[in-house]
Symmetry: C2
């Protein structure tokens, strides 16, 4: 009968690795530091992971997978758009943004690392992969929004997508550097308002302004009763 393995070893190694990667980046992270933090040996690390890179990929993969799922849902919901009145649509988009940024906050340390290059030339390109993916999604959503008549007909969808994706990217970068969780609702209302003004038809802009005004007065009321 063989010696049973320590059921928490892998988890402890992953958690320790996460902290060391976040602090030092991939290339400067030492397996020795990871194993010391996990209270295990270097050899034990290699029982669970083939290489240091593999541990990194696993940690990165689970954070990116969750974000990717949420991004995919934003796009998946567009079949419902044209059946909805503007205010409801604007609220829906806002909630999707909020979900995405909540998830980003949850994974903020790893995302900060990614956005700073991963601590390795091997991963520096991930920044642009990630941004390009978000931009492509934006472009598809904008093209669909044009068909639905939310946006001005003179828009270049590619340009508009770059600009919008860039604006949200900047917010993401700010978020991952915050010490305390900011008021995401406020951030995202502001971003949505600027977006809609840059791209929208006058009717759509008005609807957005009204939705936001209602939201803000509801927030004030909530604050007054607290």
């Amino acid at each position: 009968m063989a010696r049973p393995s320590d059921p928490s070893a892998r988890t402890r190694l992953l958690e320790a690795a996460r902290h060391v990667f976040i602090e030092h980046g991939l290339d400067r992270a030492k397996v020795e530091d990871i194993t010391r933090a996990a209270g295990l040996s270097k050899g034990a690390f290699y029982l669970h992971f083939k290489t240091k890179d593999d541990a990194f990929k696993e940690i990165l993969g689970s954070a990116l997978a969750e974000l990717g799922t949420i991004l995919g849902e934003v796009e998946g919901s567009r079949a419902e758009w044209s059946a909805k009145p503007y205010p409801e649509l604007i609220e829906q988009w806002f909630y999707k943004d909020l979900r995405l940024f909540e998830c980003l906050w949850k994974h903020r340390s790893i995302m900060r690392l990614v956005l700073e290059g991963g601590g390795s030339p091997s991963y520096g390109h991930l920044i642009d992969l990630f941004a390009a993916s978000a931009q492509e999604t934006s472009e598809r959503l904008i093209r669909y929004g044009l068909e639905c008549g939310y946006y001005r007909a003179d828009l270049d969808p590619k340009q508009a997508a770059a600009f919008v994706a860039g604006g949200y990217d900047r917010l993401a970068r700010r978020l991952v550097h915050e010490r305390r969780k900011p008021n995401l609702e406020r951030w995202l209302l502001g971003a949505q308002a600027l977006c809609v003004r840059a791209l929208g038809t006058p009717e759509f802009i008005d609807a957005c302004v009204n939705v936001h005004a209602a939201r803000l007065s509801e927030s004030s009321r909530r604050r007054a009763t607290a």
Copy 2:
């Protein structure tokens, strides 16, 4: 009489270093590769530079200094703004944007490296330093624009600055990855239009639309005679 030193050695080392850093990033760049490319010895490298890092800093420093100078000029010109009619102001901003992006194109390889993390955890934070600086400049310009009455009074300058800086940042990231020089005028006209729509008063938006329409029909005419 001492042996004279080779007057081109330092220049050749810097140029070789630039190429190797661009290709491999800082941490993966080897002094041996640099010196081989320059046709010199490893020892000669250390006659000119204290460390590999110092060579990197020097190369980076000259690119960033030029960009910083142009950014500073954008802000330095604001004293003249309120004396100018809207169309002239919009043209001036456009030319400043163009100058900045021309410079970015000139230094595109080094900037691509910076925007991907520098190939080293030591420089990953530069991405955000650079972006934060651009955002702070944007914020000051937006505050001033509010005073001059170009922008809607309900704007949050901090939010607006983040969004605008993010949009331009995205364009910069696209530019550094282009193989061939794109039509910068077109890019920047589009960006300026979206910006002004997101932030501007109706009068300012109209002025911008007119300036751009005039520019575009002038471009078409130029293209027809070519």
